[in-house]
């Protein structure tokens, strides 16, 4: 492996670049772009398997961790056991240099039971392998995972979310004691404003389809204005508030019954 590939300096940028396509749904980061910007001294032939290896780690191990039991538990989310057909243990000692294998790994289904220790163990094992990764690279990958996993997870969830989301919520309670039009006394009312809007994903894709993204921007992050939200203003009297509250408690109950005991 070329000396440049063994270094860890450009690896961070490479992982960010790969993450854009793999997780954030932003295509356009080509192999050639990454090579010329981050590893200009390395030939395309040498770069390709290296890229495939890193891509494979990102797609299989990271995905497995994103939706692993540990992540769910740490966010107090329900964990559903045994969803059929989803988990497949990957043999990560497979020859990642082989582009065909790497491509297969990209499309593979990650085991949903991995935790962070397994990532560390996997990375350590890779450092001991012939043609694996260096300890410095393992550290970079580990660091990248720690700092990006929440964003990546949110991005993946967002990409599968096509309905509008709840962007904001504000409310106040008014104690109406009199009204110009009717002599009603003391009818408290809650006024709630919901901000409903689509995720930023669709907007980004159409904006950046033909845009050339400089690699530096990948590590700094890209910010976009959110598309227009709809503001829905609702009025509730006490009765209605309690009716809705009852429904919400039913939702909460449903969520709890899905929680599997450890």
């Amino acid at each position: 492996m070329a000396a440049e590939l063994e270094g860890s300096k450009s690896l961070s940028g490479l992982l960010s670049g790969l993450a854009q396509d793999t997780f954030y749904g932003h295509p356009g980061i080509t192999e050639e772009l990454l090579r010329s910007q981050l590893y200009p001294e390395v030939s395309p032939e040498e770069f390709r398997p290296f890229l495939a290896k890193m891509k494979g780690i990102l797609k299989s191990k990271f995905l497995g961790l994103l939706f692993s039991k540990q992540v769910f538990r740490s966010q107090n989310l329900p964990w559903i056991e045994g969803v059929p057909g989803l988990s497949a243990a990957l043999n990560m000692s497979a020859n990642m240099e082989n582009p065909a294998v790497a491509a297969g790994v990209e499309k593979s289904i990650a085991s949903a039971d991995m935790d962070f220790n397994q990532l560390e163990a996997f990375l350590t094992a890779q450092t001991k392998k012939q043609g694996g990764i260096t300890p410095e690279q393992a550290a970079v990958i580990s660091r990248f995972w720690k700092s990006h996993k929440t964003k990546i997870r949110e991005s993946l969830m967002n990409q599968s979310r096509w309905d509008s989301g709840l962007r904001g919520l504000s409310w106040r309670v008014d104690g109406k004691s009199q009204s110009r039009h009717s002599p009603q006394i003391h009818t408290p009312v809650a006024i709630m404003e919901l901000e409903i809007g689509k995720s930023g994903q669709d907007l980004y894709k159409s904006k950046c389809k033909d845009l050339y993204l400089p690699v530096w921007s990948l590590t700094n992050g890209l910010h976009l204005e959110a598309p227009e939200s709809e503001f829905l203003c609702l009025e509730f009297d006490e009765l209605k508030v309690n009716q809705v509250l009852k429904k919400l408690s039913e939702v909460e109950e449903s969520i709890s019954t899905l929680m599997q005991p450890a």
Partner: protein, 93 residues
């Protein structure tokens, strides 16, 4: 997430709403669904739970509209918590 609805007490006793939303609607119906996204084009192994809500609202002219949106579980829990707060306050007003 604090809103910016301003109230003008001196005038009609009806609260003034800011430019963002001029119309207050009544909630006719609240339907919910707890879903689990299992797999998708962008991620084969998702397992991402979400709460989908369908609101039926009527404006002051009586026109009824459906509004739907999704929430992640943490978002839902925040929504629920806010509602509980509202209930507690409206009870004491």
């Amino acid at each position: 997430m604090v809103g910016s609805l301003n109230r003008v007490m001196e005038e009609s006793g009806e609260p003034q709403l800011d430019a963002k939303s001029k119309v207050t609607n009544q909630l006719i119906d609240f339907q919910w669904k707890l879903g689990m996204a299992v797999s998708s084009d962008s991620c084969r192994s998702l397992k991402y739970p979400y709460v989908a809500v369908m609101l039926k609202v009527a404006d002051h002219s009586g026109q009824v509209k459906n509004k739907s949106f999704e929430m992640t579980i943490p978002q839902f829990q925040n929504f629920y918590r806010q509602f509980k707060e509202i209930a507690a306050i409206i009870e004491t007003v």
